[in-house]
Symmetry: C2
Amino acid sequence: MSKFAIMGHGVVGSGTAELFLMNKELIKERQGIDLELGYILDIRDFPDLPYSDKFTKDINDILNDDEVTVVAEVMGGVNPAFEFVTKCLERGKSVCTSNKELVAKKGAELLKTAKEHNCNFMFEASTGGAIPVLRPMHTCLAANEITAVAGILNGTTNFILTKMIDENMAFDEALKTAQELGYAEKDPTADIEGHDACRKICILASLAYGKHVYPDWVHTEGITKLTSEDAAYASENGYAIKLIGSVEKNGDKVIPLVAPRFVPSSCQLYSVSDVFNAIMVYGNGFDEVMFYGKGAGKLPTASAVMGDVIDCAKKHGTDMSQFWEDSADNSFIADYTTEVSARYFRMSGADKSQIKDVFGDVRFITRKGAPDDETAFITHADEYGIIEEKASRLTGTILGSVRIY
Amino acid sequence: MSKFAIMGHGVVGSGTAELFLMNKELIKERQGIDLELGYILDIRDFPDLPYSDKFTKDINDILNDDEVTVVAEVMGGVNPAFEFVTKCLERGKSVCTSNKELVAKKGAELLKTAKEHNCNFMFEASTGGAIPVLRPMHTCLAANEITAVAGILNGTTNFILTKMIDENMAFDEALKTAQELGYAEKDPTADIEGHDACRKICILASLAYGKHVYPDWVHTEGITKLTSEDAAYASENGYAIKLIGSVEKNGDKVIPLVAPRFVPSSCQLYSVSDVFNAIMVYGNGFDEVMFYGKGAGKLPTASAVMGDVIDCAKKHGTDMSQFWEDSADNSFIADYTTEVSARYFRMSGADKSQIKDVFGDVRFITRKGAPDDETAFITHADEYGIIEEKASRLTGTILGSVRIY
């Protein structure tokens, strides 16, 4: 018998308990482990639940029970999660978390604490929800140099962008629909400004390259500047628009970046719609793989948390070896203006022959019902900064500009 | 320092050596393991390779070297692979294989041998090539009941079907193109008759449900009966045709099946083209996830083999816990005629009002240039056997019939 505890009984916490109790016998049979839910830590009372006897308000009940070898942290936020997780790890209890903020801000420190106490800090649920991506990337793809990672890491923005592309909704209307359906929060800033995707690309980048990439170091653009006109140019020319969190090798450095992109229909990410997430990983042996699934939600996130819990419980005492070092500074991060992409521009009052003079052989694109003085085109791939400099030389007004995937 | 050996220096074997030597320093740095290639077993001589000193013709060199903790088996076929793998496992050396025939036919026995000798038998490369799917399914999704698995498991047939749909090539022409490009073998039977996909769904089914599913127990249909007319109906009505290996729960039983299917554009498998593979997994917590990538090829397959090798070497002595029991008989396999799908039919001389009488409210579909007496329609979902019986009552001739995904 192996005992685990859950810290936090919100959406993910209650989902974790629910999923475990639903599949307990199956887990025993298929995974060969007799797992028991020992405690649920929450400051609130839940007297009517079938497992109400498991609740405690005192973390010491968990810390002092030597039978508890694994703890699921699903409280969210850095405080008091960081303190609680540290205490668990210091007692040699592995911790499995869905808390992307905690991992993005404190991952290196917690991984070090876990290593020092012969236990594991796992966080599959923190990135891509139910989607297995962190552990497969670190284990199954271990023989490769990861050249790049790029993903649709935020379901809320993907839902909004899908509405903008498929139904030509305006951004505000799509956001309102997302809020009505419960996909977006009342204050949607963290989603639409890209902060949520930023945390997730920090986790992917840190794991892929072995050094902690902090959120402050990542150039992050949201989706609030995208217009229906941009969406029309995309959809009428074979593109979707996706908010892409990416990191790629650039010599000895890496470039992490969050920005909307036109994704061509030849790319697997093109058809990832609504609240689904997907992550492409590129490497020098396997070329490319993609992981797709639900990036959020009660049971999907619980599935990822419990997957970590089961493995940690089964392999108690084994180093699961998912690790990165802390970084003294951001000198290994290349400036985002050196990232190479093609770019879409939408302009008014532009001069097509001047555009060709400046950018060379661009591809002009059209949309139905465009005003006469509107010009849109797609450049060849070049460094962001170089394209910016060239664009600054153009006459007319730039109304929209989006990187191409 | 940890030593591994490679058995077989064909395409995958040479790729395994190449990938390892290319990324050796990176593996050391990122995975924290100083791995050394000890031996390559092959009956042939390779005097001109930079690692020609590693070759041996005697398996005892590998068996008797206690420093070798992991062996990659990339010979293919059951003999002598089975004997060699058994010998390695009996010496406590973990074995990582790309050999789907070996796993599909002898998996349960080899897993038992591994367990008895405290080592691991791993086979990520046997299914989906480079794609991480077996280990993520067994570990990251461990808290779920797997309700179904369905995948594009054979790149050759997917290439042929892509040509038939996208370019309206006839089957024979598409096969010839695949052979010219080296995607199909001179004798393409194993691919086009579905035997290769069958082995892979056996492996996925065995792992998902914990009992060995033998290839002989799986109803397997190839793609040779598909015509350009069927492809036209598919592509003109929003479908692709894919050869799908699938297994699903049906009460206490499971139904494994290999058959071509019309896949609607709303499904992620729709856009998986050319030689790419992808596997959808369905479960009661995570809903659905998909794994996508290159299902074959020298370095992609080597990537999966080496991923297993690195993890086994790092966790030497740990039970990786990927396991299934042998099955005494096939009583847990439900008859394929009970599998529920909608169905596409193409007929000549049919009577539409009779079709409606027999099948209820079917959806009639059209294609450009169809003869006047051709009728095509899609039924509602029902058991295969029931649809067959209903179809037998129709006047006219059935020219084509394909399950809908």
